[in-house]
Assembly symmetry: C2
Homo-oligomer: 210 residues x 2
């Protein structure tokens, strides 16, 4: 993770408000003008503060953007975790519906910001964002696995959870974050559930051709 070492934390009400303005302004500029044009002068102007005030809290430009990335990532991760819920699932079907639904919900948070972070951020942030989401999905699946193990045809649960994480991430992104071949959002959830369930329930195959 790109280090988020702040110079200091805002203590008074006024400074806390400035601090939030800086993050909000940075997110807006990222969406509107892209990473390349997100410079400190512009952030300060958009936030209605001076550059000097930025540097009260943030040691450098990278950290400002990293804080935006981290805040967004935390929100997405929380939704995936919460929406999946703590209750034990009734069935594999039910569990997969819940997890995929949670991922779809999470990706409705500022999808334009999500797209920018995914597509034109410095290396670490992108990799981490993807990794974090996939890992959250994996953990959800691993969490419910014991209860529904009998309905799964996979042998290696580690590999299977990674595959499910990647599939879910890819399909939800294709529909909600980078709508290039616009798959209707209503369809994505159904098709993702279908793909994941089909994979998890598919019998082991031998290479009879290829």
């Amino acid at each position: 993770m790109a280090d988020i070492k702040l110079r200091k934390l805002p203590r008074q009400a006024r400074s806390r408000s400035i601090f939030e303005s800086i993050l909000d302004a940075t997110a807006r500029i990222l969406v509107r003008e892209g990473y390349g044009r997100t410079n400190t002068n512009r952030i300060a102007e958009e936030a209605g503060v001076s550059v000097g005030s930025l540097y009260q809290y943030f040691p450098n430009r990278e950290t400002i953007v990293a804080a935006v990335v981290e805040r967004h990532g935390r929100r997405v991760h929380r939704i995936i975790t919460e929406a999946s819920g703590p209750e034990q699932p009734l069935s594999l079907d039910n569990a997969v519906h819940r997890i995929v639904g949670a991922v779809v919900t999470a990706h409705r948070i500022d999808p334009k910001l999500h797209a920018i972070l995914e597509s034109e951020m410095p290396h670490m942030a992108v990799v981490d964002g993807h990794t974090q989401t996939v890992r959250a999905i994996r953990e959800q699946l691993l969490g419910i696995a014991p209860a529904v193990r009998r309905d799964m045809a996979v042998e290696d649960l580690e590999t299977a959870s990674m595959v499910v994480g990647e599939i879910t991430h890819a399909l939800v992104h294709a529909a909600l974050i980078h709508p290039r071949n616009p798959l209707p959002p209503a369809d994505v959830e159904r098709e993702t559930v279908r793909a994941v369930l089909a994979y998890l329930q598919s019998p082991v195959r031998t290479m009879d051709s290829g």
Copy 2:
């Protein structure tokens, strides 16, 4: 696509060699130091030419990088198309094995460059690279569909081909391009084939839970 309008094409042998050096040098620097540090002075130095010579052919820095992106994309696209072959498939199994195998082969071309382009390039290049690959996979599947239609359980071939493209792209990338949760390359092909076949053969479902 990021415009690749060159100022002029190299005509003499010497200048053609310089032109290629510039692209090769740019690719090396991208891999070694990332996009942020890929500036014109460095490219010229690495290529063993002067900045002035860059600007004989390229109108600006972006176009140099765009040309590298385009060249790499063309190579990947060609492998996917060729390796899938023109012969009609024997079966759905056989067809999926061939397509997935071709995608895996294509992603063995300079995976480090591929990763950089995927993770920290300006907006358009990334989106286009992904789109191009997924589209190539889609086209392969649509091409063989008539011969194996009876083995597929999907109704909407357009949606299904997009889903298959995204799944294949995501799993191959997870294993070969961004090996974060390193799935052994030997396993990725098997698991991708398994996921795609399971999806294409899965019966239509009703939402009996969720």
